[in-house]
Amino acid sequence: MPKDSGIGASSKRREDIRFLTGTGNYTDDINLNGQAYVAFLRSDVAHGTLNGVDSSAAAGMPGVVRIFTGADFEGVGGLPCGWQVTDRHGQPMQEPAHPVLAQGKVRHVGDPIAAVVAETAAQARDAADAINADITELPAVVDMSAALAEGSPKVHDDLTSNLCYDWGFVEENKDAVAAAIDGAHHVTTLELVNNRLVANPMEPRVAVGDYAAHNGESTLYTTSQNPHVIRLLMGAFVLGIPEHKLRVVAPDVGGGFGSKIFHYAEEAFCTFAAKAIKRPVKWTSTRSEAFITDAHGRDHVTKIELALDAEGKFLALRTDTLANMGAYLSTFSTSVPTWLHGTLMAGNYTTPLIYVNVKAVFTNTVPVDAYRGAGRPEATFQLERVIDKAAREMGIDPVELRRRNFIQPDQFPYATPVAVEYDTGNYDATMDKALALADWDGFEARAAESAANGKWRGRGVNSYIEACGIAPSALVGQLGARAGLYESATVRVNATGGLVVMTGSHSHGQGHETAFPQVIAEMIGIDESMVEIVHGDTANTPMGMGTYGSRSIAVGGSAMVRAAEKIINKAKKIAAHLMEASDADVELANGEFTVAGTDKSVAWGDVCLAAYVPHNYPLEDIEPGLEETAFYDPANFTYPAGAYICEVEVDPGTGQVSIERFTAADDFGNVINPMIVEGQVHGGLGQGIGQALLENCVYDENGQLVSGSFMDYAMPRADDLPNFTVDHSCQTPCTHNPLGVKGCGEAGAIGSPPAVVNAVVDALQRGGKDVTHIDMPLSPSRVWSAMNS
């Protein structure tokens, strides 16, 4: 019988009410008294010398308040990168300056050159269009291999080359891996592209800066996944505002998927300009602007080699990757192809020797950073593609080949050769579940039916693992992170028994306002409606690192549990006093404190009231009040894993792929709200299938973004996607967080692309075509070309 409340219940989302009635409070819904509007003049060339900016005509146009150029920001810091990668020779990465407005050069289409602040948004746009930027165009650096070639134009003149870093992992394993590959029975090699993507949350970015002259406080309202991180980065590194004079508010945020983690120039600009003109300043991105300013995702070019023995046991794995950084280092860009990618190359397998080389490259394109999965989709895609290819080459069933190499349940905790230790997992269990739900054994009958209809049916399987719940601060500090990665929560109990949880996690679609109270309700035994979640405002939440990497419930939820445990311990002392018992004998269940072996009891609400009206209270031992804060720093990552199966039909006449079935069997550990978890998987699958079949961010050789709108960039529509079969019943709870949870936000986007491509390759093979790989997206033209080449 499903639960109707607490942990494990599919509680309906309370935030839905405001979203369904048009009463949400997104950043663009915020309008402050006296607000002015900003429009940016952006570079329309990919690379050029900025000789000067003539804004004389624009300055006299109606409504113009002030025009800013790079010169206004000469005394201001640049946008910082939050992760320093050390290369394989022990040297720090090359780290260029990233000015708020361009200074001296423009480095990608969309690079901001000047900003007009005006009375209306239309006046600001009109005036920005009248500014004349004198740019001498330079050859654009677009292709990564060309960018690394001797004599290539440099994106940053003050760097030695376009190479940000040359990273080797684990460098000490390099020779042993090479020897194992050289001596192996079989080596499967695959070269592939992990296509560049645009996150495209449906809400474009918005920033509203405000300055209060009476107390010198700046406030930024912004579309962010992590307001405290923005406060820290912008305050400390860009504008020099102490944190106690800077408030960052991220209200309702319309999706993020990684792209709203980062600190962007427009945020710093609006905060800076509001203080300069003593008026609120608002910027609302258009979608066209989003395409050329939001950090892009993926964009890896990889060669992977898998060495196997005669029985198909994996002996060694070697990868060489070029990772595009774009023109500047976005906030967490450098960590994505390294620590979020190389550390996952063991997958679910016992491969003993692994070496990962990544060269990160500057190009004249929009900066690239984390997008849903961030490094882990890139790792999973290459690994699960090369395994499939190896299975075909060696004549071993692809499921069987994976099973022969799975880490077994009795091997946990399992230390991989790439620095991480998996705590729990059962990869055969999720594979069994996926095969059953997908009716794997019934495939041939369906394939015959497809054939009768003139279609080729294929199926693809994959098994993925990811690392979530980032992360132990001490570990990431060693790896180059310039921040801690704990999470925080304050639990405030009111005198009348209701609770408010102030969390550093941020919800932008994940349903924290519903799921977090389920945990508290379960712990205390009260109704979920007695718990309210506050998030998204640095003024009323404790310092937190925000939401990304599927970390909210694993890290933020754990912080909340720790704070709630402190509350319960204190409440038990109060209850013991009221019941004249020893607090060690007090138990809490169903919202009532009792004394074991007696009929004494006191209600939760009475204890809360006593805490704030301490007439009869152990004041000698404890303070009045019932409010506690906890910071939780995880001992390890969490390791969600699962098996995905995709079944496709390919039209041999056109190359059109249609997904007929998609099955996802995930192990997320314990689950708080199954409805929300399944929704997260659906969304991830939509994005992963979008990457596999539709989405592609394309630059031409001049660095012009060809896919710069929803007319050119193929976002998945409802009729592009199938119904999904998802399951999370295989649960090996995390051993090192109090909820036993692992995180579910990115799994779908990580596990689905290889399943889709494996299925299409299978369909073509069954159709008699010797196709071993097609680069994503598998558009009809690419599939048709592959089958007819």
């Binding site: 979203f19 949350p201 066209s288 969304g683 529509r717 999904f724 019943s729």
Partner: protein, 161 residues
């Protein structure tokens, strides 16, 4: 500037607009009806769908002046008279048909238009009709189920367990 008057969610409203003022801007900035969202500038995403004289319209693709005299319904006008969620809104909550909520107003307005012209659509018809509404969060799975449920058709319960 010209003055424009129309009926929005049953109430007469008017305001001064430029020729280039879009209906979406008139509703959001002029009337404070911020439930109508703008997610793109090429008429693709559908977050701004409202009803104009009963027809689903992308309000970013219509000038405010063109709506003079029209009956306009926005997401703010979709609840029941007592303030409770309307049938489609309730189905979206029941079937978890929304996550971040940004595309949701347009989805609900498109769904209402679909069910007005086709009260019992097939799943394929629902998916086809939503071609002009992009959602990045849900993979559409639960949106489709919500609309099917709102039409009174049998839909499996949300969440397997």
């Amino acid at each position: 500037m010209t003055s424009v008057s129309m009926t929005v969610n049953g109430k007469p409203v008017s305001g001064d607009v430029e020729g280039r003022t879009l209906l979406s801007s008139f509703l959001r900035d002029g009337q404070g009806l911020t439930g109508t969202h703008v997610g793109c500038d090429t008429s693709q995403c559908g977050a701004c769908v409202v009803h104009v004289n009963g027809q689903a319209v992308k309000s970013c693709t219509m000038f405010a002046a063109e709506a003079a005299g029209a009956e306009v319904t926005t997401i703010e006008g979709m609840a029941n008279a007592d303030g409770s969620l309307g049938t489609i809104q309730q189905a979206f909550q029941d079937y978890h048909g929304l996550q971040c909520g940004f595309c949701t107003p347009g989805m609900v307005m498109s769904a209402a238009a679909l069910l007005a012209e086709n009260p019992s659509p097939s799943e394929a018809e629902v998916r086809h009709y939503l071609e002009g509404n992009i959602c990045r969060c849900t993979g559409y799975h639960n949106i489709v189920r919500a609309i099917m449920a709102a039409s009174g058709q049998e839909v499996p319960a949300v969440a397997a367990e």
